[in-house]
Amino acid sequence: MKQKFLIVFILLLSIILRFYKLDQVPPGLYQDEASIALNAYDVLKTGKDEYGISHPMFFKSFGDYKLPVYVYSTSISMAVFGKNDFAVRFPSALAGVIAVLLFYFLLRQIFEKEKLVAPLGALLLATSPWHIQFSRGGFEANLAFTLYLAGLFLLMLFLKQKKGTYLIISYIFLAIAVYTYHAYKLLSPLTVFASLVYFYINFKNEKNKIVSALVVFLAILLPIVGFSLTQNGSQRLVGTSAFNELPGLTPIQKLYEYPALFIRNYLSYFSFGFLFDTGDGIGRHQIHNFGPMLKWQLPFLITGVYALLKKKTFIKSVVLFLLFIVPIPAAIAAPSPHALRSLLMVIPLLSLVTLGIIFWIEKLSKYKVFLAVAILAVATYEFLFYSHYYYVHYPQVNALDWGGGYEETAVKAQALSKSYDEVIVDKNLKFVSTYLDFYAPNMKYEMVDVTWKKPNSWTNKKVLYIRPYYGQQEAPGIIYSVRLQNKTRDVFSQLWEL
């Protein structure tokens, strides 16, 4: 009964942390979110993407192809909430809350005899900066994370109860994760393979159920395997490959340079600097001076490793499997480390922190109340510190990482465009076309180079010219300056009348 109240409290907490001011913090949709939003809305209204392809399985985007699951989820969300930023982020936020519940149930399956592990682990995930950051943006990786977690939980259920339905549904979730985020093209098959090895050793009497589930998994993956072998489908891998950093190598050099780079990238995911301090340095992925994990968790993470190695083989295997395979696809890509691609690491890492906390509470059982209060005090202070930075500093400091200014530029341009004959947009405002198509769909415009000048034939035409800020605070012709929400209110773009 107490655990039920506890998990309800933890779920409410995760809902608040993921949905409070979801459309305002982070400030504005970044370009991938805007692209998803545009495609989702087009598919909802017309059944076609922005390139006119009907109900596509893969969506052409900036230099690669987006996977379909998050786009279609956003279409459903927009059908309910309308065409706005909240609807774009809703699927990820909802997935974040469901992930907390799934993590609770997963830990209950893995650590059956230790009652404290599941609720403590769920609380840590609910308040994890790593998970909150990606639950509050339209990140496909976060939805894939939840789908994978569902697959893993059902796999554990099958191991305990041997019901074939659980295994089939587990493999279906793992397959859908492949259609949600690129990293799972490797993670899901590796997980299925590991489970097959385990079944071969321990589940020889359940062959029919295992084969049925495997056939379903492979059948679902056929289209994406076929697509990945095409030039379009392999663009993502080619474009983000870590080995692009080593051009012009001879075959002999590749023999040692490539593995060495992979090892270096792989090890970077276990760096304390990455986990607890600077993160991966990408402004969208964490807050300045905060890593994906909270600093107070470091000593418990270290102790948790020791506590885990004392556990039974099965528990060790599951946690260590996740810990060591997750960085593999992430290490093949650049840059490394990368907090988004390695999001799944939060599961084994928080499991270790949980074990570490319980280890010390049991070890110092005489002082367990004092220890629990001390941990709670430090954890609460650091979490409030993080929340202060997230809601107060982050929207100002990292506005540009989140497309700050684009929405206002598009909305203002749409409002003004009715009074103008032509709308011209400087190409140096990168990605602006996606924002204009989403926020100002009825406005016709032309993209031009920075050297563009008003042609003589347009002498009698009123032109609205949208440009990035080139340093002119005031000049005749500037009718509106779009300013960022930072302390100095820097100019992002300007609308000129020509």
């Binding site: 040692y256 060495a260 270096r264 970077s268 276990f270 304390f272 600097g273 190695l309 202060h388 500093h393």
Partner: protein, 196 residues
């Protein structure tokens, strides 16, 4: 211990020593690892500059004690960077350190082991807070405990012979991977140290 095991143990000690020798041109750890009062004040000013809302919150979250702790923590965790350790000790050394910690903790008198491990984990603080110590003295001081722990870890692991016939293959793979890292990054030390 047979000849092969002795050879493996010998190489397990040579690799970290060779890797350490690649740091000979370094004159100090990079400045990011040393605490700086000036840098701390700049961080605090920057944080206060972007803060809005009640003054009490600014005082609670942006004050010298908290920022001092965070700054030292940042530099300390930077020094526990696994790629930095690979640069100083090589992959072989890192694996040895992991094994060494495991075997230390396996001892029944775990309080002594725990104390030793705590001492090793606190050594990086010497680098963080004492930049005036000569580097020629500081680097061996930083390196020695981890080297000794690594050598001990390899010795116990080889002696215990858990992997049996797979042991030579395990170490062969480890040595090859370490060699790859050394060939690919012969100057990796200069990522973490200053040469002038």
């Amino acid at each position: 211990m047979g000849i092969i095991k002795k050879l493996i143990l010998f190489l397990s000690i040579v690799f970290p020593l060779y890797s350490f020798s690649l740091w000979k041109k370094c004159v100090d750890f990079a400045s990011v690892y040393h605490f700086s009062r000036y840098d701390l004040e700049l961080q605090l000013t920057d944080a206060i500059h972007t803060d809005t809302g009640p003054l009490i919150l600014t005082r609670i979250f942006h004050n010298k004690p908290v920022f001092l702790l965070l700054d030292i923590f940042k530099r300390y965790t930077s020094l526990l960077d696994i790629n930095l350790f690979v640069s100083i000790l090589s992959l072989v050394g890192i694996v040895g350190v992991g094994l060494g910690i495991w075997y230390l903790l396996s001892y029944k008198k775990s309080y002594l082991s725990g104390f030793l491990i705590l001492l090793i984990l606190l050594f990086p603080l010497v680098v963080v807070v004492n930049p005036s110590l000569p580097f020629k003295f500081l680097l061996p001081l930083f390196f020695s405990p981890f080297f000794l722990l690594g050598a001990y870890g390899h010795y116990k692991f080889i002696e215990e012979n858990r992997l049996k016939k797979v042991l030579p293959i395990f170490y062969l793979v480890l040595f090859i991977l370490s060699l790859l890292m050394i060939f690919a990054y012969p100057q990796s030390a200069y990522t973490y140290c200053a040469t002038q």
